[in-house]
């Protein structure tokens, strides 16, 4: 198996997680972060193939809370912008 196989989008335009509307579900296709941040995101379940849903935004517009791998994870838009996703068809 080529490691890069799974990062290929299966359809739908690739965007980043910070642009996802609340209530929308999407699938992670790539992580642009490197080093420690990258490892951290993997450990928290943000891996290629993971289903993510944007749940809520903090009162001041940042950070955003997501549901991934069955739990709630909040992160700043800056970090969410490093996660490439495709919208999931309803």
């Amino acid at each position: 198996m080529e490691p890069s196989d799974r990062t290929a989008p299966r359809g739908g335009a690739v965007t980043t997680l910070d642009r996802i509307d609340l209530g929308c579900r999407c699938r992670v296709v790539g992580i642009r972060a490197s080093g420690a941040l990258r490892k951290r995101l993997f450990a928290m379940g943000m891996v290629p193939g993971a289903d993510v849903e944007a749940i809520r935004v903090a009162p001041l517009g940042d950070p955003v809370e997501y549901r991934v791998k069955g739990y709630a994870l909040s992160m700043r838009r800056a970090e969410a912008g490093l996660i490439e996703v495709v919208l999931e068809e309803e």
């Binding site: 490892k39 379940g45 903090a58 001041l60 970090e79």
Partner: protein, 665 residues
Amino acid sequence: MIGIRIALAGNPNVGKTTLFNALTGSRQHVGNWPGVTVEKKTGRINRNGHTIEVIDLPGTYSLTAYSADEVVARDYILEEKPDVVVQVVDATHLERNLYLTTQITELEVPVVIALNMVDEAEATGCTIDRERLSSLLEIPVVRTVGTRGEGLDDLLDAAVREAKTSPHHEHIVGYGNEIEAMIASLVGVLAADKDLGDRYPLRWLAARLLEGDENALAKVKESPVSSRVQDILSGTDLDEYEAAMADRRYDVIAAVLPQVRTAGARSMNVSEMIDRVVTDRYLGIPIFLALMWGAFELTFVVAAPFVALIEAGLAWLSAAVAGWLGPAWLASLVGDGIIGGVGSVLVFVPNIFILFLFLSFLEDTGYLARAAFIMDRLMYAIGLPGKAFIPMLIGFGCNVPGIMAARTIEGEKDRLITILVNPFISCSARLPVYILFAGAFFGAAAGAVVFFLYVLGISTAIGSAKLFRHTILPGESSPFIMEMPPYRLPTVGTSLLHTWSRGAMYVRKAGTIILAGALVVWCLASFPFGVEYGSSESLAGSLGRLLEPLVAPLGFDWKIAVALLFGLVAKEVVVGSLGVLYGTGEEGDALSTALLADPGLSAATALALMVFVLLYAPCLATIATIRKEAGSWRWAGFSVAYGLVLAWTLSLIVGRIAPFFLGGA
């Protein structure tokens, strides 16, 4: 008697500490702050002729070299080789928890899973086939409910059995042909170094090298096989491997889960409903502020009768001691020195305990994570993570718990900045000084002056944070990636234990460092023999005269110099010292009159003095706390020096400018 060492591992917030306490009956080191449990917690149990030592490792999401915690947990398992690792798994978040399992098993130690919080999982209608999970992972899985102490015997039995079984074989994730081939060739090369093979499981080491793990790369750097390892690694994209391996781990978990778990209907639950309200766009911030305001109101209102009781007790004790102890010097030592010094700190104990109780409650329920979520944007503007807000807030009560609360912060630089700016948050011990001077010199405007001082303190903290961020501790504030735990109702026992373990630290401090400081001050004020306590002929007086030139530009005389010096013990001591030095006692009215009558003191000087008291070196207890939390005297020394320079400069400026605003007073 056979000794067995059990290491407890697991994600943060899975009830690990509760389980540890239930297992060992330990009451120490309970404060489970996610992120910075660097000190190992150990406890002993005797069971069926075995001495079992339980080691509580820091809670981690993975075993990469991402943070100090992860390295501590990983190195403990690798270097100390515990007989068995018990991973505490939150049954409600199996998927992410099992990710850590896949990493622990690679370390080739016997593993037992404590499937914790099963009651919570079942309450959502979810069932977990424990035996199936156990056979798929080839790891014993024991059902536990830490809060009720259920399953502890089974867990210990399984752990002992596993520790004695050899060889053990846990299921290890296979990474697919290509990666496995790479791992195999790396293992082949690494095996040539006998020393490496003795110290580390080679498959684990090879896999980490493929992931570009810096900690692992450092381990092979000194090895003779290092260059051959580099040959294999060069020309490969380690980032790709890392993603593919993480992916494989989740794939394995995804294959296991449907076989063992029947998911309950995920409807809108209580957590969701609470979050809708407390993180609401319009209500979120007001609710947060109301809760914090409530915390301080409660702290003072509820504590007031206890504070009065302690004050009365101390007054009675002082008077009684004066009667019992024959020689006047001894009565003075015990009355003025020990009871006066330690007492001035002990009276805050009720406030501290109630504040801690409230904060423990907020933390244990999960609200604190929401508070960080709400405040993150504001703190980001200062260059700090959202969690840094809490220590600042606590600092208004007392900087000591404020600084301790900085443990929640993961980034080491973020934590240091949060610690270093905390002393500028005006703690309650400074209030008596403001009340005395603002009351005496500013009359009706006293309230505005005190408000100005609080704002100045906050501005200094923010300004210093920005300054440190751009100079001594450069870098971006660490990313905010935080799990939002579901709300939980803490048990009364947990909250009280939590409060006690933190509050007790404060009381211990009063008995050690404050006591020592108070004794030194008393000696200075009493010697040489025969002088009047605290007079200008005493050592304190001589010291004051020695210090006077330093503070003369600010308009302070030797009495103030001495009071400020004593104030290092605890800032409220400034008031008491001035009372002694002006010969009026601590009674507010007499002292204000005496201060007003002093030709050397003007409103401008008083303002400069208050600014100085606000900013100058932290009190002894705070200095000691900075040393402990920052890990070196260097930072404590820096904090003192920085505070002194800043206080001196700002009060000089305030003293010079103020007359223009105060109409030449």
